[in-house]
Every structure is written in C-alpha cells, then in structure tokens.
Symmetry: C2
Subunit: 332 residues, 2 copies
C-alpha cells in the first residue's frame, strides 16, 4: 500500500482531519513498509508498531476504574492494535505521567494492571518513561509486535463477507450507565474495564488464510467498517439484524439505544474483518470451539464507498462517520 493511498484513506471526522493534516507534512522513510493510517505501522523485518494515549477525564475516570484497571485497560487497548494486523506481540513501552499523590501506590497498581495485560498475551515490558504530570494521569502505551504478512484494512474486495467476533455493545452500555451516575451490571462493567485483545483469534484466522482485511472495533462497528471501506476503496453494507448484541446491551431500555450501543458504542475491541464468501463458514465451528468466541457474518462488501446499514425494515441508510470522535465537540 502506497503512502499516498494511506494519506487519503482515513475515514471522516475532526480527529481524522487533524491526523490527515499531520501526515501530509510527515516524512516517510526507506525502512517503512506500511506508514500511518492502519492500526499499526510496519517497518523492516515485519515489526509492527502502534501507540495509544489514554488521558484521565477523556479515556477513563478514576471513579469508574481502579488504578489497576486503568493500567490493564490502557495496555489491553493498545495491544488490540497488534490483534488488528494479526501480529505476534513482542513487548510494550509504557509512558506514565502521574500526580505527586499517585507515587508510589497508584503508580504501582497501574503498572500491576499493565503487567497483567502483558502476561495474558506473552508481551514483555521493554521500557518507557515515568514522570510527574501535575494535572491529570496520562498513560501512553506503544506496542511492538511481529507480522511477516500483516493483515491490513485495505484488502477488502467486492463480494467479500464482513464478520465480527464476539458480541457488541457491552462496554458502551457500561459507559452509558456510568455517565448517568448508575452502576452497570457486572458483565457490562467487566467488558469496559477488562477488554481482552483478540490476539490469538486474529493470528489463528490469519494463519488459516481467510482474512482479506482486518481492524479492531475500537470506535464502534460502523466507524471501523468505514475505515475498512475507505482503505479498501469499497462500500460495506451491514445488516442490522445480523449484528450480535451483547446481553448487557440488550438490557438497556430502548431498541434504538441498544442498536446504537452495538453499532457506535465503541470500546468493544472485538475483531471486524472481511473474508472471501464462504471461507469462514468452513472453519467457523472449529474457531468457536477453540476460542469460545462466536463469529457473526454482519454484512458484505460492494462496489462504491462508505458504509450503509440495512434496517430490519429493509430501508438502507448511509451511516458514514458513526464512530466516536475525540474532538467531535469541535466539529461544525
């Protein structure tokens, strides 16, 4: 994939506009196989790299998560970017900015949480930085992995099927409850506080040669399907009735709210991928038995661009840009 493709292949939204401007002036390099624009950059030797910055008050609140959960979640969310290109984790660098009051207890607990996420997928702690941050806790996790043949966002082809792992909307349901000052159910809270990056699942699927494109569901299914559509130069049609709703999202009142959580809630960290028609069906039973994670065919790839949603009524809507935008309050 050429750099110029990447630069124009980011989906819509204010955050992406800003990233797009940055990249327009950014130098490339000989050792870079895949530059900015996918879930990971890929450099010489098949090394995959990605960074995820979590900021107190934006990505987490201390009254929503324990210090250990803050650390676990920051690392797990970053590691999910390795899953999103089907890379084997090598390690992470952790930059932690914490207040004076966080030293040493909260900082230790944060790193305990990071360590839990690392151990779960065999990643090492490679290094990082620790410094004072007077106003708020910040944690930036850079993940490093290896993918000889990474699966990118850009490989979806017309006729492919769109699939998703697991069930969607539980983390979104938890955030919705917390924002309203209510206590989420255990399953919703767990999904939000303890996402499990689908690293083994992604590598297994990639190893079986059934993936044409891949992304993790961080912004919500609509937003992330839009990334695949934009990077691949195709249109994606999602069937509303096929979207696997998590029981925790199903308990939220209002079917349109439930659907919104599943489609745009974000924070699911499931895999969304395309595969040639009929390919997944052959290995689906084996996959679901091995990982105890369901696979759902949620749509299909067509000629065109953007994401369309076929409602259960049969009406087809354009739904581009349904993902979470960090700067959306600044838009328009």
């Amino acid at each position: 994939m050429s750099d110029s493709t990447l630069r124009s292949a980011l989906a819509a939204g204010a955050e992406f506009d800003m990233i797009r401007r940055f990249l327009a002036g950014a130098p490339g390099g000989d050792g870079v196989r895949v530059g900015p624009g996918d879930d990971c950059a890929i450099i010489e030797g098949g090394i995959a790299l990605s960074s995820d910055l979590s900021v107190e008050g934006v990505h987490f609140r201390r009254d929503w998560l324990s210090a250990k959960e803050i650390g676990y979640r920051a690392a797990a969310v970053a590691l999910s970017d390795l899953a999103a290109v089907a890379a084997r984790p090598i390690g992470v660098l952790v930059s932690l900015g914490c207040t004076d009051a966080d030293v040493p207890e909260a900082a230790d607990l944060i790193m305990e949480g990071v360590t839990e996420a690392l151990r779960a997928c065999g990643a090492a702690l490679l290094g990082g930085d620790v410094t004072r941050s007077p106003a708020s806790l910040v944690i930036d996790v850079t993940v490093v992995g290896h993918a000889a043949t990474p699966v990118l966002r850009s490989g979806a082809r017309v006729g492919d099927s769109l699939w998703v792992t697991g069930r969607l909307g539980a983390a979104g349901a938890a955030v919705r409850m917390l924002q309203r000052g209510r206590v989420p159910g255990d399953d919703a809270r767990h999904a939000y506080a303890h996402p499990v990056p689908r690293i083994a699942e992604a590598r297994w699927l990639a190893g079986h040669g059934v993936l044409s494109s891949l992304i993790d569901v961080s912004d919500g299914l609509l937003g992330d399907a839009a990334h695949i559509a934009a990077a691949s130069g195709v249109a994606v049609l999602i069937e509303q009735g096929a979207v696997p709703l998590h029981p925790a999202a199903r308990r939220v009142r209002g079917s349109s709210v439930q659907l919104d959580l599943a489609l745009s809630g974000g924070d699911d960290y499931e895999l969304c991928f395309t595969s040639p028609a009929g390919a997944i069906e052959k290995i689906q039973e084996q996959f679901e038995a091995m990982f105890a994670v369901p696979l759902s065919r949620v749509g299909q790839v067509f000629e065109g661009n953007g994401v369309k949603l076929r409602r259960e009524t049969g009406v087809v809507d354009d739904v581009a840009g349904g993902g979470y935008q960090h700067f959306e309050e600044n838009r328009g």
Copy 2:
C-alpha cells in the same frame, strides 16, 4: 546483558526507585535482547526502541517555548536516545494530547516542529495518537531505530577514559534564567529550545570501534556518568578542570553555579562515552573536523562504584546522584 543485571543497574534517586519497582514485576520475553534499563530496549532484528514523555509544566512551559519548539524539542530529546545506543533512526510514533484551544493551530505547529526534528536525521513519522487532554499538553515520542551492535551503558572497563562531546551547561543556563523571569542569551536559549541529537556522531564513533560504553547527557554529566558506572560495575572519576563549559554557562555569575550547570544542569543531549585509553586521540582531529563538535576527555574509569569528582583544588568528592530527578521533591 542479563535482565537481572539491568534491574539492579539503574542509578539512585526516587524516579529510579519507582522504575526499579516496576521492572521487578515486569515480564521479559524471548524476542528481547536488551530489556529496560538502557537508553533503548533492543529486540529481535536489532530494533532499538525508547519513549520520552514531555508534560506541560514539567518538561516545558508555553511561555518558554513556541508550539513548534515544543514539538521539535520533544522529538529531538527522544531521538537522542537512539544516539545513546548508536542506532540508525527509522522513525517515531507521536502521541499528542492537547486542549481544545490547541486544535488545530497549536497542534499543527507542534507537529511541524516534530517533522523538523525527523527530517534532520532521516526518521519517518510512523504513526501515533491524537487526543484531547483537558488540563495540559502532553507529548510522548517513541523512537524506533536499528543497531546491529548497539553500544550500551554497561561496557565501561577499568582503565577506559571518559569523554564528552560538545560543551555543557548552556541549556541549564537558559532554564535558570527563565525560572528567574529573565531572558536568556540567544545561544543559551537555542541550546535549550533546539537540542541536536548526536546521532551521526554516535554512529561514526561506533563505526570506528572506539566506544566501550555510551549514554546521552540528559540528566547532567554527573547523573549520566553514574548510570554508566552503575551499569558497568565500575567507578568513574571526573576531573572538574576538564569539563568543557559552554560560553553561555560561563556568563552566569558564580563559578560554583557555572560548574553546577555543566555537571548537573541537564538537557545538554551531548554524548558521554568511555573508550580504551588512547583510542579517541587517534581519531579526534578527524571527528572534530567532520562534525565541528569538540571531544573532551573528562575523566577515567576505576575499580569501585559511583562517581567521584576531582576538584581543581585536588580534593576528591563523592557525587553520586547529581542528576535531575522528576520526583525528587518526594524524597526522604
């Protein structure tokens, strides 16, 4: 170098105590050649990695640096860690957390500064993250390079000479002036706002096979020499009279203040290295002609541990722990 060596090889200080605790619980991995504790981690394929987190109010102030300088400096300081292991830069990941008011103008200028630092050493922008940070600007730069045979802190041998590139204390002099509400001289301000990572110099020296250990001077000569001493299991004696004082530091009133700036001011980003006796003298003229950067022999490696300073009076002092500590206010 074994991981257990690394874990005990960090020098003294509250920040290092905290890092040491983190590492004690941190998982290692097969793909890791050099784990935490040196300027970079080195993984499979000779890939060198390091992260540097800069936080507003701790590492920079907006009334001291322009937005472009904030970006340039954050990237240059991080890239200096590649110089510190004699690695070739490949690229960087930039995680930027900025306030609503920073979008888009200040954020663009910050990334212009980052880009300037990248272009100067042939590094690519590989990716990163952009998000809102309500309280203060934060920028974390992860550098990625390649070093088939990295030069570590741990290679100093008894009898080696200790050397430093350039002249020390200018950036420290600028910070001292700024902290007192005064305007630093152009040369001091430039040294602080526009450090130049000594990447070409480090690679040239490594290529000539004259380096036994290497570090960059970020915490101050005493603190960074202490890192070499601790990692190598040796003592380092620094000759006060041989320390190359920058003219900007020489203009500060008080010879003891001048010396303190050169020894502990930090932010110099020169190279500090050890070399077998007599080796540098053979290539010194060629180096200085090529890079227009002086090389100064500032001390020697002995059996023992820690750093000693021979004053111009002949008195020898123990000076361990003379570097800047981000959390030093919490000590004792």
